[in-house]
Amino acid sequence: MVDTSAPTLRIATAGSVDDGKSTLIGRLLHDTKTVFEDQLSAVVKASRRYGDGETNLALLTDGLRAEREQGITIDVAHRYFATPRRSFIVADTPGHAQYTRNMVTGASTSDIAIVLVDARHGVLDQTRRHSLIASMLGAQAIVLAVNKMDLVGWDEAVFRRIVAEIEAFVGALARPVPVTAIPMSALLGDNVVDASTNTPWFDGTPLLDFLEQFETRPHGDTGVRVHVQRVIRPQGGEHGDFRGQAGVVAGGWIRRGDAVTVLPSGQTSTVRALFRWGREIEEAGPGHAVVVQLDTDIDVARGDVITADPHIEPLVGDDVVIDLCWMVDRPLTVGSRWWFKHGTRTGHATVREVQHHLSPTTLEQEVATELTLNDLGRVRLQLSEVIIADRYHVLPEGGRMILIDPADNTTAAAAMIHGAGVPA
C-alpha cells in the first residue's frame, strides 16, 4: 500500500498566562469548522454570563467552573480536529507557573509546541521556561505565535524584536529547536487559518498551513525494543498451550523469524509468531500493541525488554542520570527515596546526587543540593532494578521515566534519561 498519510500531529500550547493560548485554540477549532453549533451557542451564553462581552473562544477549552470564573486555564484540555489533510490532537496547557506540572503533562506527548507571546509584553520568564521545557521534552519544532499584533498596530519591528529574542534564547539551549514565527491575532483570526491582510511584510504561512505541512521526524532507528507488559497464557481450551508476551513496540520493526535477545537476562530465542489486536501479522513497528510468541520456552516477565538487531545498544543498568521537571511540594534531596516507573518496570529510586539546577531564564547550570516544585535539573539515581533504556533524545519511548512520591502516590517528576550504566 502506498502510504500517502500524514501522521496525526500532536500540538501543545505554551507561554505565559493571558498570552492567548486558549483563545488561539478556540480560534483554530472555530475557523476549521470543528466547533459544533450547540458548543458555540453554549460559549456565547457563557461569555455573556461571565461578562466577557463578545464571544470568548477561550471558553471552548477552559471547561472547568473555576477556570471560567477566574478566566484562566488551570489544567490541560485535550481537543481533537481533522482537516482533509491531517488529524490533530491539541493540548491546551496552563500558563501559570504553579500549574507547570499540567503544562508538562500536555507537552510531553506533543510533536510541536506553539509558544505564544503577547506582542505588547514581549518575552517573559514564563515564555522562556516553557520553551526550555518543550525542548527538554523533545518538541520537534516551536511555533512562535506573536499574538495580539492588532494591539501594537501590526508593527513589524515589534514582531522582529520578539522573534530575535526567542531565537537567541532557543539557539542557546542544549537542544536547539527550529523556530517558525508567525504574527497573529488569535482573537480576530489573523494568520491562524486564513492569511491576514494586515501583515503584508510577512512572507510565511498561516498557522494551520504550517501544521498541516509539518513533517514529523521518523522514529529513532535503534533496533527492536518491545516492552513486555504481561504474559498471555490461556487456561485450557483450544489455545491451552499458547504462551505469548504482550507488550508495546517502543522502537524498531520486529518480524516473524527475527532472532531476539531478552534483556536483562540475555536469553535468546526466535520470533515464532506475532499478533496485533488478536490477529496474526508479519511485522510490527513503533507504538504497536503486540503479542510476541517465541520459539523456545524461556523466562520472560513484565519489565523485560525484547530486543533484536540493535543498531544502537540499549543502556542497561541501575545507575541512571536524568534530566527532570520536579512537580510536587516535597523537595528532591540527596538520599531521598521514590518509586520509579520506566517502560513496564517499577522499583525504588534513591537520589545519589543533584548534579545541577537549570535556570529557566539564564540557562545557567547552578550548583544545588535539592530541587523544589517546578524546578528543572539533572540528578543521578540508584535504582533497585536494572532498566533497559535509551537516551531520551535518541528514543523518547525508551528514555522516559516518572518518579512517584511514596508518601501519597502522586507523580513527582517527569524524567528524561541522559545516561545509564552500572556504578563504577
Binding site: 496525526t8 484540555a77 482533509p84 496485533r276 507504538g287
Partner: protein
C-alpha cells in the same frame, strides 16, 4: 472520500487502537482487581471489544459491570446478555433500584425525574462492595468540556470524588496506578477518541451494537427540543402529544433522559456519513441531563459519576 483522507484517518485509528490496548493491558496488570463499566452503549461496546482483543487468545481477565438504572431500553438488555455470552465475559449488575429500596438514595419524583445522577452512589457502593481498585470507562474527552480535562488514569479518593484541581500529572501517559486502600482509579482508554473514531472502529471490526443505534420507527414525544421515547419511564405531561417518528439513538443512557434523533441511517455506513456531517454534539442532541446547567457533567463527576 479521497484516498488521502482515507489513509490519514486509517493511520489515526490504528494509533488510537494501539494506545487503548496498551492502556487496558497496563492497568489490568498493575491493578489487583479491575472492572470494566459497561452500559450497552457504543463506547462501552468498543471498549469491551478492545479489552477482549488486548488479551486474546486468553479470556478477559476481569469482569464487566453494568450499573442498571432500571430505566433500560429492552433492546439494550437483550444485547448485553447476548454479548457477554458470545464473548465469554463475567457480568456483574449493580442496581439503582436496589439503592433506592435500601434507602441509599432518594428518587426524584415527577414526570421529568431521572435516575442518572443516582447512578453515582450505586456505582461507588458496588466498587467498594466488590473491592474493585480500577474501573475502566468509555468516557471520551471530546464528549464534554469537563471530560476534556480528565486524565487517562483518573484518581478517586476514599469518597469516590474527583478533584479536577488536583489531578496527578500524567507525562507521556506513562501511567501511575498507585493508590492506597479504599481509593480507586478510573481508566479511560478511549480518552483521545471522537464519536467519528468510535464509528470507524465499529465499521472496521464489525462490532455488534444494540438495534436502537440504527433507524427505526418509534413513538416519541418532543420535549425541550429532544425526542423522548414513550412507553418506558417517560411520563407524558399535559398538552404533550406523542407521534410516530423515524429515529435512531446517538447515545444510549438512562431511558428517561436520553433522546432520539430523526434519522434514516439504517446501517453503520449510513451512520458514519451522518456523524461526519453532524453539526450538533451527541450529548447536546441527546442528553437532557447535560443541558440542565453549564457545569452538569463536572458536578456529577466530582460526586463519582462515570
Amino acid at each position: 472520500m479521497s484516498i488521502v483522507e482515507h489513509t490519514h484517518a486509517t493511520a489515526h485509528l490504528d494509533a488510537l487502537t494501539d494506545e487503548a490496548v496498551t492502556i487496558i493491558r497496563e492497568v489490568a496488570t498493575e491493578c489487583e482487581s479491575p472492572v470494566l463499566l459497561f452500559s450497552g452503549g457504543k463506547d462501552s461496546a468498543v471498549l469491551l471489544h478492545l479489552a477482549v482483543l488486548a488479551f486474546a487468545p486468553a479470556r478477559l481477565p476481569f469482569p464487566v459491570m453494568h450499573v442498571d438504572t432500571g430505566h433500560n431500553f429492552p433492546e439494550v438488555l437483550e444485547y448485553r446478555d447476548q454479548l457477554v455470552r458470545d464473548w465469554h465475559v463475567r457480568l456483574v449488575v449493580a442496581s439503582v433500584q436496589e439503592s433506592i429500596d435500601t434507602g441509599r438514595v432518594v428518587e426524584d419524583i415527577g414526570p421529568r425525574a431521572s435516575r442518572n445522577r443516582l447512578q453515582s452512589v450505586t456505582l461507588l457502593d458496588a466498587i467498594s462492595e466488590h473491592g474493585f481498585d480500577a474501573a475502566f470507562g468509555g468516557g471520551r474527552r471530546d464528549e464534554d468540556k469537563a471530560r476534556a480535562k480528565e486524565r487517562i488514569l483518573s484518581f478517586r479518593d476514599r469518597q469516590g470524588r474527583w478533584d479536577p484541581r488536583q489531578q496527578r500529572p500524567e507525562p507521556w501517559a506513562l501511567l501511575n496506578p498507585r493508590i492506597r486502600k479504599g481509593e480507586h482509579l478510573r481508566a479511560f482508554p478511549l480518552s483521545n477518541w471522537t464519536e467519528l473514531d468510535i464509528w470507524r472502529y465499529i465499521e472496521r471490526h464489525d462490532v455488534p451494537l444494540p438495534s436502537i443505534y440504527f433507524s427505526h420507527t418509534r413513538t416519541v414525544v418532543e420535549r425541550d427540543g429532544m425526542l423522548l421515547s414513550v412507553g418506558g419511564p417517560v411520563e407524558l405531561e399535559s398538552g404533550e402529544t406523542p407521534h410516530a417518528a423515524v429515529v435512531r439513538y446517538r447515545t444510549v443512557g438512562d431511558a428517561s433522559c436520553t433522546g432520539a434523533v430523526e434519522s434514516t441511517a439504517h446501517d453503520v455506513h449510513a451512520v458514519l456519513a451522518e456523524v461526519a456531517a453532524a453539526r450538533i454534539t451527541e450529548r447536546g442532541a441527546t442528553r437532557a441531563d447535560d443541558t440542565f446547567s453549564e457545569s452538569s457533567m463536572e458536578d456529577r463527576k466530582r460526586e463519582g459519576y462515570f
